[in-house]
């Protein structure tokens, strides 16, 4: 009884009683959520264009960040290292298309998924082989200072805000790219129907390379932001797991879904940890994100922005 009260009643009273703490958690959740959205977007792009659930997205984040920081350690300035890293991700896209996708056209989703797991191993191995497994410090000049808002009641950090801003910018750019440019429309066409896209003269190969390149750049940005926060190291590849609940919530193919889903998961898990964590013993964030997504799915199997599925026979 007492336990039930501590999870069903007390947290809400606390939210009421300490609104600034709540606001702070929401803001922190939003800024984290943007970064989740960013990683989730990488998944969505590739899933839309090739029906591939790209498990290697996390490894790509690691690989991109390792490349950048590795180049910088060799004395390159940030801009040069950035250009080279982007070039590396483009090269990766070419290689993936040439040696993987091309041979796996029309395979089932699960097989494609497994292939990306193979890619995951390759990238983790190559990244560490080239640049080592040490933790590396990444300094990109984002100011890192706490600052007060709401009269000192809520504390934020310039780094988090900047990172959220960069994330948001990239997310918006991608959304616009998808909706407004011919390339973006082509990508959406491929997602809807491979055959149809081919028949109107869009070369699948180009699209795959394009989409993997974009996913690679998204991974690079995610890697920079997370890497600047916690150092560039192997754990970066694990943040892919944080994007999965976002994907179920938002839908595998929906760009707005990834954005809104990321924000919901970000805020949800922070608030849950902050108010429910103490009663439940803490560290509930991870499963809470999944449970939230699961509960949501049970009531709305098509995801946040999916259309209602009418089954036909």
């Amino acid at each position: 009884m007492e336990f039930l009260e501590s999870i069903l009643v007390t947290p809400f009273i606390e939210i009421w009683e300490s609104p600034y703490y709540f606001i702070e958690l929401v803001l922190v959740g939003l800024s984290t959520g943007v970064l989740y959205s960013l990683v989730a977007l990488g998944f969505v792009l590739i899933f839309k264009a090739s029906g591939m659930f790209n498990f290697a997205q996390g490894a790509m984040v690691l690989f991109a960040a390792l490349t950048l920081v590795g180049l910088m350690e060799h004395g390159l300035p940030l801009w040069a290292a950035l250009i080279l890293s982007v070039a590396t991700m483009v090269g990766l896209a070419f290689l993936v298309e040439r040696f993987m996708l091309r041979h796996l056209v029309n395979q089932e989703g699960l097989i494609l998924f497994m292939a990306t797991i193979g890619l995951n191993f390759i990238l983790e191995g190559t990244g560490q082989l080239m640049w080592g497994s040490d933790v590396k410090r990444l300094e990109i000049g984002i100011p890192d200072q706490p600052f007060d808002i709401l009269g000192g009641k809520v504390l934020l950090n310039t780094f988090d805000v900047t990172a959220a801003f960069i994330g948001a910018l990239l997310v918006i750019t991608l959304a616009v790219f998808f909706q407004k440019t011919p390339m973006g429309r082509a990508l959406r066409a491929v997602a809807d129907d491979h055959q149809a896209a081919l028949s109107v003269g869009i070369p699948l190969k180009t699209i795959w390379i394009a989409v993997w390149t974009i996913a690679g750049i998204v991974a690079l940005v995610a890697g920079i932001v997370w890497g600047a926060k916690s150092g560039v190291q192997f754990s970066l590849s694990l943040i892919a797991l944080k994007a999965l609940p976002v994907l179920i919530l938002g839908g595998f193919t929906s760009v707005p879904g990834a954005i809104v889903g990321g924000l919901i998961i970000g805020v949800g898990e922070k608030v849950a940890e902050g108010f429910w964590g103490p009663a439940l013993g803490g560290a509930i964030e991870n499963w809470f994100a999944y449970m939230l997504a699961l509960a949501f799915l049970v009531f709305r199997p098509q995801g946040l922005f999916g259309e209602k599925i009418i089954e036909r026979v």
Binding site: S18, V28, P146, Q233, A283, E285
Partner: protein, 439 residues
């Protein structure tokens, strides 16, 4: 065609697997030290310096002293990636190597240690888990084969509270203080909790346990919680990326670094360097000195790196966890030396090395002679006490190096030892072990 190639490849694999199982080399007068390392994967930043420390010290013994009393030191690394299943494989692979089998195992992972503890008595190979693993293994009557000097997590926790009390101005000032234990949500991270709870009751401070899930990349909500609690002190049992993020987040909420103390696995160079200037003033416990100014380092740089200090730095010489590897290797080899005094200067079995560990008595003279002067405290293991409750010290990061920031703190034996004995007794009962008599 494709198909035929596959068959050939499979056949080659099978043949290959068969032959290496049989491969075995035997040489006389060698002492084999297995090394379970993790140079890759999520915990590699911590694993690399430790492994280098071991490697360099073993090599140093051979180059400088011609081995241990003339017996060559051999070692082999096996990559565990900090994973239990690979740990088992490495253990089985290495335990029979060398003329007399493995001397002892240093698992460097709580999970693998737990896993090897039951095996140790069966395979007759001791485990030296220096400052980690199962705390109650300190009770040598139950855990004949496991040694965890110089101190356990429980001893450490008591020493940290002692430190907090001194900062607060005495034990009586602890009453009403708020202390947070921020810990990795795993068997390792939770280890100190029971002791801290006992201490909280005794001294009347308010303890809040805040767990962080693996890997610990995301701690925003935990730190907002901490900001709300406004603790007087924070004690952290972190590991891997969790440490770096925690230090960064502490800065984010403007928490004063000098009230934030990590345990000895949360205070290495890899933990503070990525946090940049924000980490200045961060404290952590340790039981040995950091830096490369000790005698042993001079020898290592001279004999192994040919005097090239830069190459040594590249190889982490002098980093906290590097030094830990060196100290650990020293304990291990000194145990062998102790055993040689009884069994002769030849290759020793695990059983003989166990005797050496149990009778290990590292005096200040030995330390001075080996180049560990000022780096680590003397130590004497007994049949009952496999831990020794060696003193713990607080070190401080000034942005470039670690330095001592307190006097040596002796753990509270009166509190910790009964807890150890109770848990050891429970383990003995569950596993049908009759504790031996040490008198």
């Amino acid at each position: 065609m494709k198909f035929r190639k596959l068959v050939l490849a499979t056949a080659a694999t099978v043949v290959g697997l068969g032959t290496f199982a049989a491969a075995e080399i035997a040489k006389a007068d060698e002492q084999f030290f297995p090394m379970l390392v993790y140079r890759t994967g999520a915990y590699a930043p911590s694993g690399i310096p430790v492994a280098n420390g071991f490697r360099d010290y073993y090599t140093l013994l051979n180059k400088r002293d011609g081995g241990i009393n003339g017996v060559t030191v051999t070692f082999e690394e096996c990559e565990t990636q900090y994973k239990t299943n690979l740990g088992v494989e490495c253990y089985e692979k290495l335990k029979g190597n060398g003329p007399t089998g493995a001397s002892l195992f240093n698992p460097y992972s709580t999970g693998i240690t737990y896993q090897l503890i039951p095996k140790a008595s069966v395979d007759k190979i001791p485990i030296l888990s220096m400052g980690y693993g199962r705390t109650s293994a300190a009770d040598g009557r139950v855990f004949e084969w496991v040694f965890n000097p110089p101190a356990t997590y429980w001893s450490q926790a008591s020493a940290v509270i002692k430190y907090f009390s001194r900062r607060a101005g005495g034990y009586d000032k602890l009453a009403g203080k708020k202390i947070v234990h921020l810990h990795h949500n795993s068997a390792y991270g939770k280890e100190a909790n029971p002791t801290l709870e006992v201490l909280a009751k005794r001294y009347g401070f308010k303890l809040t346990l805040v767990p962080v899930d693996h890997p610990g990349q995301e701690q925003a909500s935990q730190w907002r919680q901490i900001r709300r609690i406004k603790p007087d002190f924070i004690f952290m049992s972190g590991w891997g990326v969790m440490n770096q993020v925690a230090i960064k987040e502490a800065g984010n909420i403007r928490y004063p670094m000098d009230q934030f103390v990590g345990n000895w696995w949360s205070g290495s160079d890899a933990d503070v360097v990525p946090a940049g200037d924000g980490a200045k003033g961060y404290l952590s416990t340790t039981f040995h000195g950091a830096g490369s100014d000790f005698g042993v380092h001079a020898d290592i740089i001279k004999h192994i790196y040919g005097g090239d200090a830069a190459a040594a730095k590249e190889n982490k010489v002098g980093e906290v966890l590097y030094n830990r590897g060196v100290v650990n290797a020293m304990f291990a080899t000194e145990a062998v030396r102790t055993a040689q005094a009884k069994f002769g200067n030849k290759s020793l079995t695990g059983e003989q090395v166990r005797w050496g560990l149990e009778n290990l008595n590292i005096t200040q003279e030995t330390l001075d002679k080996l180049g560990f002067k000022g780096m680590v405290s003397p130590l004497k293991i007994t049949c009952e006490d496999h831990e020794t409750m060696g003193p713990v010290i607080i070190q401080k990061w000034d942005g470039a190096k670690w330095s001592y920031a307190s006097e040596w703190l002796t753990p509270m034996r009166d509190i910790v030892r009964p807890l150890v004995e109770a848990d050891a007794a429970a383990y003995a009962k569950e596993n049908n072990i009759t504790p031996r008599n040490c008198n």
